[in-house]
């Protein structure tokens, strides 16, 4: 069978959409051509005749690319990345931050998980609700067709933000206070990033893959 994705990719040079959107469209059109080819073969056509029959689905590839670009452009350029990544990321980040703030306001205090050699404390109720925000971020990204990496980022955004903040300040801390600070950094990572990250991941996990266990084909190309 012909490599339909290659055929479509060669023909759709005028599409000029963002890479993610382009790959999705190419995958979908290639699948259509493959089905048209197979249907023609099932009717007894030769390989060449079936290829020709499939290619008759499109009179003018340039016009098709232009029409698809017109139909997709506004949405893809302005909304797609926002819907697949930024909005879900903001939802989980804001949700987790507000939950923490709310708990602090109602008097929830961190309880020590262990005390030696360093005291490491957690807001246990906050850890308990974190899976909800992990799930929400990953779900919103999946619903908008976000690939695995977007779902992962959206689901774990609250700790990614803390990780970036901690990592940015750490070199200064090490320079000022010496390498002994690395131990505190490691405990800080466990306290602020690893354990909350695990809680977020627990919630996000069911939404990292589609119901059939697959990620979007777009992210596999």
């Amino acid at each position: 069978m012909p490599e339909w994705k290659k055929v479509v990719r060669e023909q759709m040079t005028a599409l000029n959409l963002p890479p993610g959107a382009t790959e999705d469209i190419i995958a979908e059109l290639a699948e259509h051509l493959a089905e048209a080819y197979e249907a023609a073969r099932a009717r007894g056509l030769t390989h060449t005749a079936a290829c020709n029959r499939a290619m008759q689905e499109v009179d003018d590839w340039y016009v098709l690319a232009k029409e698809i670009r017109r139909a997709k452009a506004e949405e893809e350029f302005t909304n797609s990345r926002s819907k697949r990544l930024w909005i879900p990321t903001m939802v989980s980040l804001l949700g987790a931050s507000l939950a923490m703030r709310l708990m602090q306001l109602i008097g929830v205090r961190p309880d020590p998980a262990w005390t030696a050699p360093l005291v490491v404390s957690f807001y246990w109720p906050w850890l308990a609700v974190l899976p909800i925000f992990g799930a929400l971020g990953a779900y919103l990204s999946r619903r908008s067709g976000g690939p695995l990496k977007f779902r992962l980022v959206a689901g774990t955004a609250p700790v990614l933000w803390l990780f970036l903040l901690s990592s940015a300040s750490e070199p200064i801390d090490l320079a000022v206070n010496g390498l002994s600070q690395l131990r505190y950094y490691a405990y800080g990572m466990a306290d602020l990033v690893l354990i909350p990250g695990a809680a977020l991941l627990v919630g996000a996990l069911p939404f990292l893959f589609d119901s059939n266990g697959q990620d979007s084909p777009r992210s596999r190309t």
């Binding site: 979908e28 059109l29 699948e31 084909p217």
Partner: protein, 113 residues
């Protein structure tokens, strides 16, 4: 034999045809084209070139939602389902086409089935 409807008319009625089909169950592009062709006895025929711009336009309007799924044979297909906005759109569209046929019938004796 059913007479093939010209592509301009087919395109105009495409939204209604697709919405009606998806109101029954989600379907992927090739299946949508095939079902419409079969159910209209070949009078309405969608090719890849006529179907996808329309589907993407409808997706942009929020009437349908496409989502990749893999079948048991490991084949990736983008299934379209009707959204609640699309479902709301179906009744007025049907009414619009009824009014159109009625008007055409009054004018030119074109009766719809």
């Amino acid at each position: 034999m059913t007479k093939r409807i010209s592509s301009k008319i087919a395109r105009g009625s495409g939204e209604l045809a697709i919405l009606s089909l998806l109101a029954e169950e989600p379907a992927y592009g090739f299946e949508i084209a095939k079902q419409i062709g079969e159910r209209t006895g070949g009078a309405l025929k969608f090719t890849l070139a006529s179907l996808y711009p329309l589907l993407y336009e409808m997706e942009k309007k929020g009437w349908v939602e496409g989502r990749w799924q893999t079948n048991s044979a490991g084949r990736d297909r983008r299934y379209y389902r009707l959204t609640s906005a699309g479902r709301k759109q179906l009744a007025p569209l049907r009414e619009e086409w009824r009014a159109f046929f009625h008007a055409l019938d009054s004018l030119a004796g074109v009766s719809h089935a």
